[in-house]
């Protein structure tokens, strides 16, 4: 029955083609300078914020746990530098623009680490032990959503497929791409940890076909280690193919239910868990090298003098990253954390990176990798002419223009009746709209409002 329904209303071939502008795809990952001041936000993940475990004036080493929460859906935070805690104060958080608690640490430039327990083999470890290491290392989804990894790895259902997400469908970003090319082995080993915890029979590494070198690298590693249950899945380069639910559908044909047993459906409900390749690499670091998540690869791209892929300590100020890339190129209009399709605009550069920061994208008059007309729509919003482009591209088969219309009228009941919760906020509708209506913004606002009504 589902097949007939999907034949009539297909989900394949949806989405949009955005010029991928991967300017930094051949740039090797460089170590960024260890920051003088590290700002560690107490909430860097979906779930409960952490409580600080240190006081002002305490000395902390690199990798020391400085914040944790008793809540299950949460992940601890660690110091990314060695030095003294300067203050615990409210700082502007890059993903909301609101002031949020953060621990500010002044580095002593010694880079003194905690004692790290390194291992060579995980076969002696029990699942619970591995899960515990991953939780204590503060792992969250590094693709951008920052969902605590240990929660994802503790599903109630039987998991048969682990999908490793290396699609990186957002234009400009190349951090996962470089990681796959340079650290492919660690990614595969990290995936093995996940597969062991989940008892997953199949591991699919999904990579978009605009990254042939990454596909080749991962494929060779799989062959070298003779991993029978691993497979590289080449996906078409199209946005938003790297989104969890879209990717699950493309890879397995299964649909994550929107609602199941009066709660939101999860990938585990269809026997799938998706993890980002960066998360897999971080899991390798955590388990094999005893290194909690204190750094990550960030692509700094757009209108900077030199686009780079940087291994950055978490809590580094955005301004330092831009300095490290030679500064701005021309007058700057927008600074975006994340990719151009879902990234979050930053008001100034006095904010610091978090675990989920995968890219810093600068838009200005340097026009690096795009044309002026593409970025800042100067046109005033026109009325909807019902061209149907948003319907054609919506990867979850909604009617964005209707939802936006209901949202404007504050008819949240109608939004709910029309499955507004299925929206993933990918922004494809806004991208194609000839009338330049902010469909994605209206819908995500209405989605939040609709949640408050029962």
């Amino acid at each position: 029955m589902t097949n007939i329904r999907r034949f009539i209303w297909p989900l394949a071939n949806k989405g949009v083609r955005v010029p991928d502008s991967k300017l930094s795809k051949d740039k090797q990952i460089e170590d960024a300078k260890i920051p003088e001041i590290a700002t560690i936000y107490l909430q860097q993940h979906i779930g409960a914020p952490c409580e600080p475990l240190v006081k002002v004036g305490d000395y902390v080493s690199v990798g020391e746990k400085i914040g944790d929460s008793k809540s299950f859906v949460s992940a601890p935070v660690h110091s990314s530098v060695s030095g003294t805690v300067l203050s615990i104060e409210e700082k502007i958080h890059p993903s909301s623009g609101l002031k949020r608690d953060a621990i500010v640490i002044e580095s002593d430039n010694k880079d003194k680490w905690i004692d790290r327990k390194k291992i060579n083999d995980i076969s002696d470890f029990k699942k619970d032990e591995l899960l515990q290491i991953i939780r204590e290392s503060g792992l969250v989804g590094l693709g951008g959503a920052a969902f605590p990894t240990h929660v994802k790895l503790s599903p109630k259902n039987k998991i048969d497929t682990l999908i490793l997400n290396g699609c990186e469908c957002e234009p400009y970003i190349t951090s996962d791409h470089r990681l796959m090319v340079e650290e492919g082995e660690k990614i595969v080993k990290g995936a093995e940890i996940f597969a062991k915890i989940l008892d997953a029979e199949n591991v699919l590494v999904a990579i978009e076909d605009n990254k042939p070198d990454a596909i080749l690298t991962i494929d060779n590693i799989i062959k070298d280690y003779d991993l029978k249950n691993f497979k590289v899945l080449k996906t078409e380069t199209k946005y938003p193919h790297g989104f969890e639910k879209t990717l699950i559908f493309l890879a397995t044909g299964r649909e994550v239910p929107l609602v199941i047993e009066n709660r939101a459906g999860l990938p585990a409900d269809v026997g799938v868990v998706v993890q980002n390749v960066g998360t897999a690499k971080a899991a390798y670091d955590a388990v094999y090298e005893g290194k909690p998540i204190i750094d990550r690869v960030i692509t700094v791209t757009g209108d900077v003098k030199e686009q780079k892929n940087l291994l950055v300590r978490i809590g580094t100020k955005f301004s330092e990253l831009i300095d490290f890339c030679g500064g701005f190129n021309g007058t700057i209009e927008k600074v975006v954390m994340g990719g151009p399709m879902m990234g979050i605009c930053q008001n100034d550069l006095d904010v610091s990176t978090i675990k989920a920061t995968n890219c810093l994208l600068i838009f200005g008059d340097g026009m690096t990798g795009y044309k002026k007309r593409d970025i800042i729509p100067k046109d005033i919003e026109n009325p909807c002419i019902r061209c149907g482009n948003c319907v054609k591209v919506c990867p979850v088969n909604l009617i964005p223009t209707d939802l936006a219309k209901y949202a404007r009228a504050r008819k949240f009941n109608l939004c709910k009746e029309n499955n507004i919760d299925a929206c993933m906020g990918c922004g494809s509708c806004s991208f194609v709209c000839p009338s330049k209506i902010e469909l994605a913004q209206l819908i995500s606002w209405a989605k939040n409002e609709a949640r408050n009504i029962k």
């Binding site: 329904r5 649909e255 605009c345």
Partner: protein, 316 residues
């Protein structure tokens, strides 16, 4: 709500996505106007300068009415091209012999009543150009049915009227295809319409489903009813209607299957009107009637979102 918490920043803040496709309403309208040019030019070629004046006056009247209607509503006037299309399309479905005040009155009705009285761009239920034509047909039926042959302008009947009244074919299918027949300014040449229509489909401006389902429905039904299906596809306003009227975004369904439903409905009505009504032609009314059905089609034909079994969540 956010601004209270922010210090004064240096950069622009805007919702994502930060990239937009290089498209606009103006561009789409311009493309439609350009693809109507083969039809317009063949119309002028066949029916002479009078046809050109009809077209010019129709467009001017539409644009001036648009300007006045927006002024009265205290809205900003933007030359987005939608009124030009309405004026042009209306002129193309007028007989080449109409007095020059007819397109002016028709365009005024199309823009003022059919478009702005319903709320302006994006809000109108009925295709303005067709509504204008319907209005003129009702008010001045004699003026609206005076047909002439191309080039020499001898009074004659249209092929469809000849078939209806006298049961004779007065033109070969080749003449119908090229447009060397009596008829409205822009309806005669199927070839010119096809050129524009195929370009629009190739550029993904219009959906191929609508013209295909209209033409397909008429073809199959006429075949089964013992008529010449090729003749019926090429004659009258079917081609122009299928490619340029029934594909008007605002007044037709928004989903692919909705457009198929629209096309089948319009095709069905065209066959009924042509075979059993008192008029030789029925494309205009068929599309207008289906325009009325559009909200209903959109209400019931909706895509199935990811992860749900039913399109609409039932109220508890």
């Amino acid at each position: 709500m956010i601004s209270d918490d922010r210090d004064n920043g240096m950069f622009k803040v805007a919702p994502s996505p930060h990239l937009r496709k290089d498209t606009s309403v103006k561009k789409i309208m311009l493309l439609v106007i350009l693809t109507l040019m083969p039809t317009t030019i063949t119309g002028i070629y066949f029916f002479g300068y009078h046809a050109l004046w009809v077209i010019i006056l129709s467009i001017l009247s539409a644009e001036i009415t648009e300007f006045l209607a927006l002024k009265i509503q205290k809205k900003d006037f933007v030359l987005d091209g939608s009124a030009i299309i309405t004026g042009l399309l209306l002129a193309l479905v007028l007989p080449p012999t109409v007095p020059l005040w007819v397109p002016i009155v028709g365009s005024f009705f199309a823009i003022a009543i059919a478009k702005h009285a319903f709320g302006g761009l994006g809000q109108n239920i009925f295709n303005p150009a067709l509504a204008g034509r319907a209005f003129l047909m009702i008010c001045w039926p004699v003026l609206m049915t005076r047909w002439v042959t191309p080039f020499d302008a001898v009074t004659t009947a249209t092929p469809l009227a000849a078939l209806k009244m006298h049961n004779t074919f007065i033109a070969s299918n080749l003449d119908l295809f090229l447009g060397n027949i009596a008829g409205c300014i822009g309806e005669t040449s199927a070839l010119a319409i096809l050129i524009g229509g195929i370009v629009l489909i190739a550029l993904k401006v219009i959906d191929w489903r609508t013209p295909l389902s209209i033409i397909g429905t008429v073809f199959i039904l006429m075949l089964f009813l013992g008529q010449d299906p090729i003749f019926h596809i090429l004659a009258g306003g079917l081609m122009l209607g299928a490619f340029f009227m029934a594909t008007d975004y605002v007044t037709t369904p928004i989903t692919g299957w909705g457009r198929v439903a629209f096309g089948i409905g319009a095709g069905l009505l065209i066959v009924v009107f042509r075979l059993w009504s008192g008029m030789p032609e029925g494309v205009c009314y068929s599309i207008l009637i289906m325009n009325g059905f559009t909200p209903l089609i959109d209400r019931y034909i909706k895509p199935l979102p990811l992860g749900v079994k039913k399109t609409r969540v039932d109220k508890e």
